[in-house]
């Protein structure tokens, strides 16, 4: 197993809650995902050396940069990390070149390295410009170049694209993935944007109120949330209160509002939990034409609410017989082909492999 490039245990008393996170990353893009105020940015700042935790230990590679018990606390500038704050924070009185060069050791080849970084980030010819004369996207590239110039082992990015419009964001995300591939960087990326988290993450840590609720491979976290809260935060729209659990062969059979549901996956904590929920993403629910015979994992319902997002439609179904209320997301094309606009009552199929049982 590869050595961790970053290993951080951070405890800190904050106003409303206690920050207590433990994370590790190695040659990957780790996304810290969570609602605003969940402790993502402060975790990043602790690693960067801008806030001092009350407890814990932070190591980058072999270097321990913080150890509360041993009184180790390396100053921010001596840590092999590069931090990019949310608003880029370019020095307004310096040109792009001077900004990039600011954190570089003054060596013979500093100029060449700046040229290389300008080229790497598609900023050729803009080196002499002041930040206020650059577009938002260009400013973000300069901020990235300035961070890369530090030649740090870990890149810490705090919602770097949040101030940009969607078209620019897409381009910069691609750019970041390319840089990560080309330079083999370890990146910790903070975001509260679910789509961004999914697009970028190799691994994903879900934070809430100062704690990591779940950390793991991206698909694992998205498909098998460890708890109801993780499911909520990662956008699972259908969370069905379930009872009468019956386990066999790694499957669970539950009752949700009078309908029997077979869940194909079970979060480890579900077995001993007093209360459980069955979760399924809105886009995983299938529409079927009404037919007789109540099958397992089927709920009959009719549409009581509808939201058109352009390329998808979100439908809210109220059960016409037993069963829970359900949200269903369907792409615009099948929506038209199936004449959902006219046909309002459907049989909803909840495929067992997409139904995930977890502690409530």
């Amino acid at each position: 197993m590869e050595r961790h490039v970053l290993r951080a245990r951070v405890g800190k008393r904050l106003g409303e809650f206690e920050l207590d996170v433990d994370l590790a990353a190695r040659n990957e893009l780790l996304v810290l995902f969570g609602p605003s105020g969940s402790g993502k940015s402060i975790t990043l700042r602790a690693v960067a050396g801008l806030v001092t935790p009350d407890a814990g230990r932070i190591a980058i590679g072999e270097t321990v940069v913080f150890d509360h018990d041993r009184g180790v606390r390396a100053p921010a500038r001596e840590r092999p990390v590069a931090w990019v704050p949310q608003g880029y924070s370019l020095f307004p009185h310096m040109t792009a070149r001077q900004n990039i060069g600011f954190g570089m050791p003054r060596r013979m080849d500093a100029g060449d390295r700046i040229d290389m970084l300008l080229a790497l980030l598609g900023l050729d010819g803009l080196g002499g410009r002041y930040p206020r004369t650059l577009s938002g996207g260009q400013q973000q590239r300069v901020a990235l170049a300035r961070a890369l110039a530090r030649n740090a082992d870990v890149l810490l990015l705090d919602e770097p694209f949040s101030a940009l419009d969607e078209a620019l964001r897409a381009g910069l995300r691609d750019e970041l993935l390319r840089l990560r591939r080309e330079l083999g960087l370890t990146i910790v990326f903070v975001t509260h944007d679910l789509r961004e988290a999914h697009l970028l993450a190799d691994r994903l840590a879900v934070l809430d109120e100062g704690r990591i609720l779940q950390i793991g491979e991206r698909d694992d976290v998205f498909r098998r949330p460890a708890s109801r809260r993780v499911a909520e935060l990662t956008g699972v729209q259908n969370l069905l209160a379930a009872s009468q659990v019956d386990y066999s062969d790694g499957r669970a059979t539950v009752d949700a509002d009078g309908v029997r549901l077979v869940c194909g996956s079970i979060a480890p904590g579900a077995y001993e939990a007093a209360r459980v929920v069955a979760g399924i993403r809105a886009e995983r629910v299938n529409l079927r034409r009404i037919q007789d015979g109540a099958e397992e994992n089927h709920v009959r319902g009719w549409i009581t609410g509808e939201w058109a997002y352009g390329n998808t439609h979100t439908l809210r179904f109220a059960p016409t017989g037993p069963g829970p209320e359900l949200m269903v997301e369907i792409a615009s094309r099948p929506y038209e082909v199936l004449h959902v606009a006219e046909q309002r009552e459907w049989l909803l199929e909840l495929p067992p492999e997409d139904l995930h049982l977890m502690p409530a």
């Binding site: 500038r77 840590r79 590069a82 704050p85 924070s89 020095f91 954190g103």
Partner: protein, 224 residues
């Protein structure tokens, strides 16, 4: 000695006092302002009170304390005179020190506001890349310079007008320690209305020039 010559002397002494006092404000004033802007609430409050003390003291009280400190009555004064050969009482540099002490609070307040206006994230980024000294000179100082320029102008204007503290420590010897404000006082005491008028008018013109320069600097600050 014609009255005109005395007035030119008063202007010269005032100019000397102003320049030296302003120079004396620069380093401690900037350092204090930076320390106040960057330290925690309690330390900032303590430093701030210290820096503002001369503002609430009567200038004559400041002058009295300095007279004591620089004169023969105190060990420090004896040390200055005997060991360093620095005679400050009844000299214009003494007046400049008094003017500097009185002007310092205005310098610090103005400079501090400039440092506090800097986006803290910029200083945070700088601290992840460079030493505190380099961050200060390469980032904080250039970003706060309009405020520092304004602080310098305000301190200069204040030292030019300083009367109470300077007259106590330096007296009012024409041609040597008599500044324009001291000369006005003398002229009024002597009932020399034309001279008082002339000096007061010169003071007003100088004051207006300072204010014009100040508003130019502040305009630049807004445009950044």
């Amino acid at each position: 000695m014609s009255p005109g010559a005395v007035d030119v002397d008063a202007l010269r002494v005032s100019a000397q006092v102003m320049v030296l006092a302003t120079l004396l404000c620069l380093v401690p004033g900037t350092a204090l302002a930076w320390a106040i802007a960057r330290s925690g609430k309690n330390t900032a409050a303590l430093l701030s009170s210290l820096a503002l003390l001369p503002l609430v003291l009567p200038p004559s009280a400041v002058g009295y304390y300095l007279l004591y400190a620089f004169g023969r009555q105190s060990a420090f004064g004896n040390f200055l005179i005997d060991d360093l050969g620095l005679r400050l009482v009844f000299t214009w540099p003494g007046a400049a020190i008094a003017a500097a002490v009185v002007s310092l609070p205005l310098f610090v307040r103005t400079a501090q506001a400039g440092f506090e206006q800097i986006d803290p994230e910029l200083l945070a980024v700088a601290s992840t890349m460079a030493s505190p000294v380099r961050s200060f000179f390469a980032v904080a100082l250039p970003l706060a310079w309009p405020a520092l320029a304004a602080a310098t102008l305000i301190a200069a204007a204040r030292s030019l007008g300083e009367f109470g503290a300077t007259v106590i420590i330096a007296g009012s010897v024409p041609g040597e320690t008599q500044t324009v404000p001291a000369a006005i006082y003398d002229a009024v005491q002597a009932g020399d209305r034309p001279r008082a008028n002339a000096l007061a008018f010169v003071s007003m013109v100088l004051g207006l020039i300072f204010l014009a320069a100040l508003s130019l600097v502040l305009q630049r600050q807004r445009h950044r």
